[in-house]
């Protein structure tokens, strides 16, 4: 069975202030802004293609608000 590096992206949407860094800097381009608002009135990120997440955590490094992060797991079979 072929193994490939697969990740998960997590959100804490109420912390988001909608700067868009994660959407812009996700290397896999899997994020987009929500159409709805969080409690503070910001569009927050949603994963449009969560299956493409590599768990690189670039979003986590770029998020100034600790509202998104990625985690990699090694053992997800395709």
């Amino acid at each position: 069975m072929k193994k490939r590096r697969v990740g998960m992206v997590y959100f804490e949407i109420e912390r988001c202030k909608g700067c868009g860094f994660c959407v812009e800097f996700c290397p896999s381009g899997i994020l987009r802004f929500s159409t709805t608002y969080n409690e503070k009135g910001y569009h927050y990120p949603v994963a449009e293609h969560p299956e493409k997440c590599t768990g690189c955590n670039n979003c986590g490094l770029y998020c100034p608000d600790y509202a998104i992060w990625g985690e990699a797991s090694e053992d997800n079979p395709e």
């Binding site: 992206v9 912390r15 700067c19 812009e24 985690e71």
Partner: protein, 288 residues
């Protein structure tokens, strides 16, 4: 989507989130870089004390789950020096802004370099006094508009890496918050140096600086950093000048911690001076 803990949740005061920084402010990114570096470092969470001054970056102390001190305006460095002197085993990190560290605290900064007290200084430079509404700071580029320079600043700004090197810092680097991974590595290196290490962190202030200077959103500023920074490790700090809209250099400029720190120099000197005195012991701290 199943929710797990943020990877930095052990190091953040999550009960204080969301924090008070504006949308698109880079301070949060700088804090992530610092905490990630700390997690990778040889220091445990109880080995490190964080000291901040006043201002937006001064609030960092209130959001990290470390023994942390939010001191007075400009005085984070002497506070850190006192703490380090009393407790040499503690790793002391100063995290503050350029207005705090380089204007009101500028004299403390250069003297920290002279003394070479073993502290790490992380300076978030957002090119203006943000907490008070965006006034001219020591690093505001010439011609930039601020609240107190409504027609543009006519003074030349400080070049912080140049000052840091001249003052005697053993490690000097500059990165923007766009360079998250390089920044993290630089902080990791800086906190392991003995002596005064310095990392300048260029950050957007979209609410005030970028808005007044019609530089667009925080995101467009991040893209400006991406396109207009030149990575030049080992460059002369003289060349690290920042103009209003021209490219500027980032990188590691100074890395030589061979000189003695304040406490090392003191001990080496006194070990000889008092070698015959039975009461003398090498200084290891003054905890009661």
């Amino acid at each position: 989507m199943s929710k797990e803990k943020h990877p930095l949740s052990d190091y953040l005061r999550e009960d204080r989130m969301p924090h008070m920084w504006c949308p698109g402010c880079g301070i949060g990114i700088a804090v992530s870089a610092f905490l990630n570096a700390l997690k990778q470092s040889r220091y445990g969470q109880d080995d490190v004390v964080l000291v901040s001054g006043i201002g937006c970056a001064g609030r960092v102390a209130g959001y990290v789950k470390l023994d942390s001190f939010h001191t007075t305006h400009g005085r984070a460095i002497p506070f850190a020096e006192g703490l380090k002197a009393a407790s040499p085993k503690t790793k002391v990190v100063v995290f503050s802004g350029e207005g705090d560290l380089m204007s009101i605290g500028g004299n403390h900064f250069i003297h920290a370099g002279r003394k070479n007290m073993s502290i790490t200084i992380l300076c978030v430079n957002n090119l203006n006094y943000a907490m008070t509404g965006g006034q001219v700071s020591p690093t505001t580029p010439a011609k930039a508009i601020t609240a107190t320079a409504p027609f543009g600043s006519f003074c030349q700004p400080f070049n912080l890496p140049f000052i840091a090197e001249a003052a005697g810092a053993v490690y000097v680097a500059r990165w923007t918050v766009f360079h998250v991974r390089q920044l993290q590595k630089a902080i990791l290196e800086a906190i392991h140096k003995k002596g005064m290490s310095f990392v300048e962190i260029i950050s957007p202030c979209p609410t005030l600086y970028e808005r007044r200077n019609q530089m667009g959103t925080a995101l467009s500023r991040m893209n400006f950093y991406r396109e207009n920074t030149v990575i030049k490790n080992g460059a002369s700090t003289k060349d690290a000048v920042m103009d209003l809209d021209k490219p500027f250099i980032v990188g590691k400029f100074v890395d030589d911690d061979s000189k003695l720190t304040y406490l090392e120099a003191m001990n080496e000197y006194y070990d000889t001076t008092f070698s015959c005195d039975a009461n003398y012991h090498t200084y290891t701290g003054s905890k009661i």
